[in-house]
Amino acid sequence: MYGSSTQFRNWTFQDEKEVANLRTQANADFINKFGSHMTEEEQDSHFLNVYEERMMVHSYENTLKDFCKKFRDPRDSRIRMLPSVMTTAQHYFKRFYLYNSVMDYHPKEILVTCVYLACKIEEFYVTINDFVHNVRGDKKKAAEIILNNELQLTQELQFNLIIHQPFRPVEGLLIDIKTRFQKLQDPERLRPYIEDFLEKVNLTDAIVLYSPGQIALAAVTTAVSRLGDNLDQYVTDILFPGEQREHLAVLVEAVRKIKKMVKNVEPPMSDSKRREIESKLERCRNQQNNPNSSQYRANYSEIDEDDLPIAQSPVHEDMGVERLRSPSAY
C-alpha cells in the first residue's frame, strides 16, 4: 500500500521549494564544514554552488539511465536490466543527493552503488563480479568502492528501500480503461509512449513530489494525447463520479505539473561544461571519500586492521585474569 509506505511518509515532499531547500542546505553544510576559513569570494570560486551541483546530478542521472540500458550480464548477454531496477536506482540516486552534497560523495561512485543496491532490492540477480564487468576502468577497485559505499548509501536512504513504482498503477489504469472506457481504441498501442514517459519522468523531481498513481495517469494521458485522442471524459466522468469531484482538481493539477516537468526536462549538459565542473569538483571534494586520495587509503587500512583483531593477536595461554575487565568498565 503506497499510503502506508515510507516512500509516502519520508520521501514525498510538498512542493519544489521544499526539495530545493534541502539541496541548498546540503550544499551550505558542506561549505561551512570545509570552507569556514575562507572569505565568501574564495568560497564561491573554490566550491560548487547549488546550481552546479544540480547540473552534475542531472547529468549523472542521464548517465545512470544509459548505464542501465547498456547493462549486460556477462554470463548471458541476452539478459537486460529491467526497467524497474532502473527506476529504483534513480529514486535512490535522487534521494541521496537531497541530503548530501556532490562534493562530499562523487556521483559516479554513488551511481553504481545505487544500481547495485537496486539490483538486489528488485531481485535482479547479479554478483558483484558480474556487475563490475559493466563498469569501465579498474574492476577490482570498482567492486571495492561499491561495497564500501553500499552501507553508507542504505543509511542515507534511512533504510527505506522499497520503491513504489508507477508500472503496476499503469497496468491497473489500463485494465480500468479497457473495462470502463471502451471508446478508446486499442489501448495497447499506448505502451511505447508510456514507457518513454516513465523513463523520462525519472530524470525530473516529479518522483519525489508526486505519487506513482499520479505519474501513471500523467503517463497514460500523455500517451493518449500523443496519439491525437483524449481521456478527459474518462477522468471526469468515470474516474471521479459524483461526490468525489472535489478531488478532481487536485489530481488534474498534479498531472499537469508532472507533464510540464517531463516536457521541460533539460538535456544533459555539454561535455565541455561537464568537464569544467568535474575539474572544479576534483579540487574541492571531500578527500576522505575519494578512493584515489592518500587519506582514504589510510582510513581504510586502519579499519582493515581493526576488523581482524582475533586472527592477529597471539593466543593467550593463561586465562588472563588481568586482561578481563569488569562489566562496568565497558
Binding site: G3, R168, G172, L173, T179, G213, Q214, E243
Partner: protein, 331 residues
C-alpha cells in the same frame, strides 16, 4: 577409531607434579579458595601440617578447606567459593526491598563484588567495602542468617506435596494388587470346587467360568472408576474449602510469578489517504475486468492463485496511490 578410547578427562593435569589422569586414573584434582588446582597426592605432601602456602600464588591455605574440583575450569570453582563467602554477608531477600529497582541495584552490586574478587580487580577496596557493609548491617545479616526466602519455602512445600502424592499412589497400587491377588485365588478355588461338584460337561463349566470372570472384571472396573471420580471430587472440594496448611495452599502451588501490568493492545486502523473506489472481488468478474488480464494457468489455479489477485492489486495500486487528502473521505 582412536576417539573411542579417548576421554577428555585424561587431559587433566596437576600443575605441581605434572601427573595426569591418564597415567594415574585414581588422581583427583582439588581446589582451595584461591582457585589453583592441586592433585590429592600433592595436597597430602604439601599440607603435612594443617596450613601451608599455595605453590602457585603463595596464599596461605588450610588443608581442611580443600575439596574435589567438580568443574573442569578451576576459575569457576574459585568463583563459587567467593560467591559463597560474599553471600554470607549479602544475604538480603527480595522482600527486604521496597521497589524492584532497588533490589536489582543490590543484586548488581553483589555481582560486581563477586566479579571483582574473582578477577582480582581492586581486591583491597572491594574487601574493605564488604567489611564496611558487614559492620553497617550486622543486625540484618544476623536476622537473615539461616532464613529461607519465600521462593525457597514455596519450593520446599511443593516437594512435600509431591512426596505425599507419590506415597498415596504407591499405597493405592499396593492395595489394588492385593485385592487382585485375593480375587484370583477365589476364582481359582471356586472353579475347582465347581468342577468337583457339578456333573455337567467340563467344557461348558469352563466357559461359564470365563464369562463370569469377565463380568466380575467389568464390574470391578466400574467400581474403580467411581472411586476415582469420588476422589477427584473430594480433592476439588478440598481445594475450594479447607483452609488447612497442607491442602489449603493449592491455589499457591505455582512459585510466585511477577505479573507486570500493561495496557492491552488496541487495534487502531491506519490512517490511509483517500482512495478512489476499487471494484470488489466479485465485481472483477461481473464488471468484465478479468477479460483484460492474463488468465491463470491450471497449475497456478491448483496452487490457490486466481487472476483476481493480480487484477485487483493493479487496480488498487492505481486507485490508492493518488496522494489525495484523506480528510474528506466519503462512504
Amino acid at each position: 577409531m582412536t576417539d573411542c578410547y579417548y576421554d577428555s578427562s585424561y587431559e587433566m593435569q596437576c600443575p605441581a607434579c605434572k601427573g595426569t589422569k591418564y597415567r594415574n586414573p585414581q588422581m583427583k584434582l582439588m581446589v582451595n579458595v584461591c582457585g589453583h588446582p592441586l592433585c590429592d597426592a600433592c595436597v597430602r605432601m604439601y599440607f603435612l601440617k594443617e596450613s601451608a602456602q599455595c605453590p602457585e600464588c603463595g596464599m596461605v591455605l588450610k588443608r581442611s578447606k580443600f575439596r574435589v574440583q567438580v568443574f573442569e575450569d578451576p576459575f569457576v570453582e574459585k568463583e563459587i567459593d567467593i560467591r559463597r563467602k560474599v553471600m554470607r554477608v549479602y544475604n538480603k531477600f527480595e522482600e527486604d526491598f521496597e521497589t524492584m529497582s532497588e533490589y536489582n541495584d543490590y543484586l548488581e552490586e553483589v555481582e560486581q563484588i563477586v566479579y571483582n574478587l574473582t578477577n582480582d580487580i581492586n581486591r583491597l577496596e572491594t574487601e574493605k567495602k564488604i567489611e564496611a557493609y558487614e559492620r553497617l548491617h550486622r543486625d540484618d545479616i544476623k536476622k537473615n542468617f539461616g532464613k529461607k526466602s519465600k521462593a525457597d519455602e514455596e519450593i520446599q512445600r511443593q516437594l512435600d506435596i509431591e512426596n505425599l502424592m507419590s506415597e498415596d499412589r504407591k499405597k493405592t497400587s499396593q492395595e489394588e494388587e492385593e485385592r487382585d491377588k485375593i480375587l484370583r485365588e477365589k476364582s481359582k478355588t471356586s472353579l475347582i470346587q465347581e468342577l468337583m461338584a457339578s456333573e455337567g460337561d467340563a467344557k461348558t463349566i469352563l466357559e461359564d467360568h470365563a464369562k463370569r470372570l469377565e463380568e466380575e472384571k467389568k464390574q470391578e472396573h466400574i467400581v474403580r472408576e467411581r472411586e476415582q471420580l469420588a476422589k477427584a471430587q473430594a480433592a476439588l472440594k478440598a481445594k475450594e474449602f479447607t483452609s488447612g496448611v497442607k491442602i489449603g495452599f493449592s491455589a499457591m502451588i505455582n512459585a510466585p510469578v511477577n505479573t507486570v501490568k500493561e495496557e492491552k493492545y488496541v487495534y487502531q486502523p491506519p490512517d490511509l489517504p483517500f482512495t478512489l473506489p476499487v471494484p470488489s472481488w466479485d465485481e472483477l468478474e461481473s464488471g468484465g475486468y478479468l477479460n483484460h488480464v492474463r488468465r491463470a494457468s491450471p497449475q497456478a489455479n491448483a496452487g490457490g492463485y486466481t487472476e483476481h489477485y493480480a487484477c485487483l492489486r493493479a487496480l488498487q495500486d492505481f486507485m490508492g496511490s493518488h496522494n489525495l487528502p484523506s480528510n474528506s473521505v466519503t462512504t
